[in-house]
């Protein structure tokens, strides 16, 4: 661990926690812009299933990601608790669709454990740390990695022989 990392972890870390299925996850509160109730989502042809589509956040068109799909979890049931957590990803905003939000939790350095190598439901690369307080374990996410969607291909458009005009 570098000095910078030690210093960073020495300060208490604040996370917004939310549920997906049986597990509770956390995203750094500094990256969270707002939490909104589920919005109408327009699916985008040619994107992956992880991308639910785009929604209108007060005039801004922003993509919404299904974290369930991203983590390889089965689709959940619709519920009035479903929300979109709007996070900052570089200069853009991205919505994360989650089952329900739980709380804002503070972890001291002592309450943070390195992610285990095995035994996680989700890709270990997405996990920054495990947060342990109030007798619960929260999976704290490295959201920038979660949102780096490199594993999606754009399909090639259908080829047709169009008719040229005037030649």
């Amino acid at each position: 661990m570098t000095t910078a990392e030690v210093e960073a972890t020495a300060r208490p870390s604040i996370y917004l926690t939310f549920e997906l299925g049986q597990s509770e996850y956390g995203v750094e509160i500094l990256l969270v812009r707002e939490i909104v109730a589920m919005l109408p989502i327009t699916p985008v042809p040619g994107s992956s299933q992880t991308v639910l589509g785009v929604c209108n956040l007060r005039g801004r068109v922003i993509p919404v990601i299904s974290l369930r799909h991203r983590f390889g979890l089965p689709p959940g049931e619709e519920s009035p608790h479903n929300v979109i957590i709007i996070v900052e990803h570089g200069p853009t905003l991205i919505g994360l669709a989650v089952d329900r939000v739980r709380e804002v939790a503070t972890f001291t350095a002592a309450q943070l454990d390195a992610p285990p190598v095995i035994g996680l439901d989700i890709n270990g690369g997405f996990v920054k740390a495990l947060g342990r307080n109030q007798d619960r374990v929260r999976i704290l996410l490295d959201i920038q990695r979660v949102l780096t969607l490199t594993d999606m291909a754009t399909p090639v458009p259908e080829t047709i022989n169009a008719v040229t005009n005037g030649s």
């Binding site: 699916p43 042809p45 929604c55 068109v61 291909a153 008719v163 040229t164 030649s167």
Partner: protein, 694 residues
């Protein structure tokens, strides 16, 4: 941001304008060496650059501008003719100055200190030319140098005249404000040459009083008048040992007529042609191009003393305004279409009125994004000039319609394509002088650059009278380079389009100007990105015409709303040729799954939008009949799309689709629909990949 910083930004902007103007004038002089007006305007522009640079201690800018001035002064007193060589040297200097100013803006530049080697070379060229002996044969009346007397005396005189103008009494008309602005606009230059930081600061304050938003203020009320008079008094106190004439002038205040007369004298001294009957005090200062007077108002740089007040506004703020107005429009439409509005006639009337206001607001917001093509046409003119000079060809460029307005974002992406096309026309289009004479053409090649507005499109046409495109040679080259197979049959039109393919060139030798096969593909790509199209027409031996069709704006779109299952898509109305319900049996299956439909005597390929976009949906949606046919015509390609329904037409504000998520290449953007949901915009030219039509 400190005051000094914001002043520097203003300086950079103004200097850019001055340099552009100097360049335009030099190009005029290269056509007509005796164009005295252009020479004077160029002199003034460079003089302003030098003066302002002095204020910011930009030594390198000053030195170079000074070298230009020295040469121009020799030219202006007519003991030296404006040779092509001098004009080239001056153009090189203007380019060097632009580079310096550009690096200043990026914060990378070192504008003080000794000149760079390249600048040194330009300066040496200018000095050599300025020292050349006078041409004995040129006998012209010798005139006084343009700037005379000591700066101190001039400053005193300027202050007196400004004061007189302010004391004339009554309400100041735009004309008088223009005069005052013209009078005071020499202050920064004078202040810089006199020196003293207190003076320079006070002058800057005075200018802010007069030009609160970059241009002269629209009206001067009594408060502002008192403040200006106060500022002038302060300035007097700051000038060391000033102004023998001050007391006298206050004692014997001349009449308004005399003040105006003396102002004219002062204008003359600065080489400014004062137009007493012009509403815009200093329009003559901006006179650069050969434009009709009506155009002049629109096309010249706005920050100068026109009677209308102008402001420089950051582009980002304009974008924000357009976005917000767009949202307002959507909200307004939502209210206006709400079913309960019909029950409330009072509210209904208000909503109707409101919708008119919002629409007006939108057209104003959009108009703010519009700029004229004058600036990029000037750049193109420079490219034609430089290329012709390098290739030793004689090329005459005529420009029409440079006052045509287009979205600012479009001009930004249009500059490169136009430069490429211009270089290409001079290099490949126009023949050498001997070739032209042999072909029985006039020795000077002619290129016309024209812009016209047609509905919601702007058409830019570049025509040359050169050798034209040779479809046979293009075809042969394309086969050689493996771009097409030898069996491909192509019409002439299709052959012309091959020159837009990356890597295509017919040039036998690589040159600095063209022949690397990069260029026209950039043109094609940029134009496509702007949702425009290019058409080529060519007659061998007679020339080539490129026509670029561009939308007026990239901000809004007239769109047709299509429905596929539960999803809605927008397609530009401009690319829809026709839409109709098809009856059973009108689709003909060919080659297995392919279908065609007859439309106006042509058999068009048919694609289901659902299949093209890979939309799944519920079984019921899948089973819904696709019986609406939308014929799209883009880029001379036609095909038909099958959709479930057409919902209507709507004007939408285009919002980019996030780069972050992958999407079908046929989607170009998104828009908020009347119900607040997001609709996706289709680009018919990218929705399907075109096979080569047979």
């Amino acid at each position: 941001m400190t005051d000094q910083d914001s002043l520097l930004i203003l300086f950079i902007d103004e200097t850019r304008d001055h340099l552009e103007q100097a360049e335009a004038c030099l190009l005029r002089m290269s056509k007509d060496a005796g164009d005295d007006e252009a020479l004077q305007a160029c002199f003034r522009a460079l003089h302003s650059v030098k003066g302002c640079a002095g204020y910011f201690d930009l030594e390198r800018v000053q030195v170079l501008a000074h070298a230009c001035e020295t040469l121009l002064e020799r030219l202006s007193v007519h003991d030296l003719t404006a040779s092509q060589e001098s004009i080239e040297a001056l153009l090189a200097a203007v380019t060097a100055l632009s580079t310096m100013i550009g690096s200043l803006k990026n914060g990378t530049g070192q504008a003080s200190g000794p000149p760079s080697p390249a600048e040194g070379e330009v300066i040496a060229r200018l000095q050599t030319l300025a020292l050349a002996p006078a041409a004995a044969s040129v006998v012209r009346p010798k005139r006084a140098p343009v700037v005379a007397t000591t700066p101190l005396a001039e400053l005193a005189e300027t202050l007196n005249h400004a004061e007189e103008l302010l004391h004339v009494g009554g309400e100041m008309r735009a004309e008088q404000i223009g005069q005052l602005d013209g009078c005071l606009s020499v202050l920064p230059v004078l202040g810089a040459s006199i020196g003293g930081s207190g003076l320079a600061g006070k002058i800057a304050d005075t200018m802010v009083l007069l030009r609160p938003s970059g241009g002269p203020c629209a009206a001067i009320d009594s408060t502002r008048r008192a403040a200006l008079l106060d500022a002038i008094d302060h300035l007097r106190l700051l000038v060391p040992d000033t102004v023998p004439g001050a007391a006298q002038s206050l004692a014997t205040r001349p009449s308004a007529a005399e003040a105006s007369h003396r102002l004219n004298e002062l204008f003359a001294k600065h080489g400014l042609a004062h137009q007493p009957d012009s509403g815009a005090g200093l329009v003559a200062l901006g006179a650069g191009g050969e434009m009709a007077p009506a155009d002049k108002h629109r096309a010249q740089e706005p920050a100068r003393g026109s009677a209308e007040a102008y402001s420089r506004v950051p582009t980002a703020r304009l974008e924000e305004l357009v976005t917000l107005v767009g949202e307002l429009l959507i909200d307004q439409a939502t209210i206006a279409n709400h079913p309960t509005i019909g029950d409330m006639p009072d509210i209904g009337a208000v909503v109707t009125h409101q919708s008119r206001i919002v629409r007006d607001l939108q057209s104003i917001a959009l108009a703010l994004r519009m700029v004229t093509l004058a600036s990029i046409f000037r750049k193109t003119a420079r490219a034609v000039h430089d290329t012709a000079y390098k290739l030793a060809k004689e090329v005459d460029l005529s420009i029409e319609g440079e006052a045509t307005e287009i979205d600012r974002t479009i001009t930004e992406s249009l500059a490169d394509p136009l430069l490429h096309m211009a270089r290409n026309a001079v290099d490949h289009g126009i023949e050498t002088k001997s070739e032209r004479l042999a072909a029985g053409k006039p020795p000077t090649g002619h290129i016309t650059l024209r812009a016209i507005q047609s509905g919601d499109h702007v058409i830019i046409i570049m025509t040359d009278d050169g050798r034209g495109l040779d479809p046979v040679r293009i075809r042969r080259k394309a086969i050689e380079k493996g771009l097409i197979s030898a069996e491909t049959a192509l019409s002439d039109q299709e052959a012309y389009r091959l020159i837009f393919l990356p890597g295509f060139t017919t040039a036998e030798h690589l040159s600095e100007i063209s022949g690397r096969g990069v260029g026209l593909d950039v043109v094609h790509r940029n134009v496509q990105d702007l949702k425009g199209s290019i058409h080529i027409d060519s007659t061998p031996g007679q020339g080539t015409t490129f026509q670029i069709h561009l939308p007026l704006t990239t901000a809004i779109l007239d769109a047709m709303l299509l429905r596929v299952g539960a999803q809605r898509f927008l397609v530009p109305v401009a690319s829809v040729m026709e839409a109709r319900r098809i009856r059973a049996g009108q689709l003909t299956a060919v080659m297995g799954s392919r279908r065609v439909v007859e439309c106006r005597g042509q058999m068009l390929p048919v694609a289901s939008l659902r299949d093209v976009l890979g939309i799944t949906g519920t079984a019921a949606e899948q089973a819904e009949k696709e019986e609406i046919l939308v014929v799209v015509n883009h880029f001379r390609f036609r095909y038909a799309l099958l959709v479930n329904d057409i919902i209507g037409e709507q004007q939408v504000v285009i919002k980019p689709l996030s780069d972050h998520i992958p999407h079908h290449p046929g989607l170009t953007g998104s828009a908020i629909l009347a119900d607040g949901r997001v609709g996706l915009i289709l680009d018919p030219s990218r929705l399907v990949q075109f096979g080569v039509a047979s």
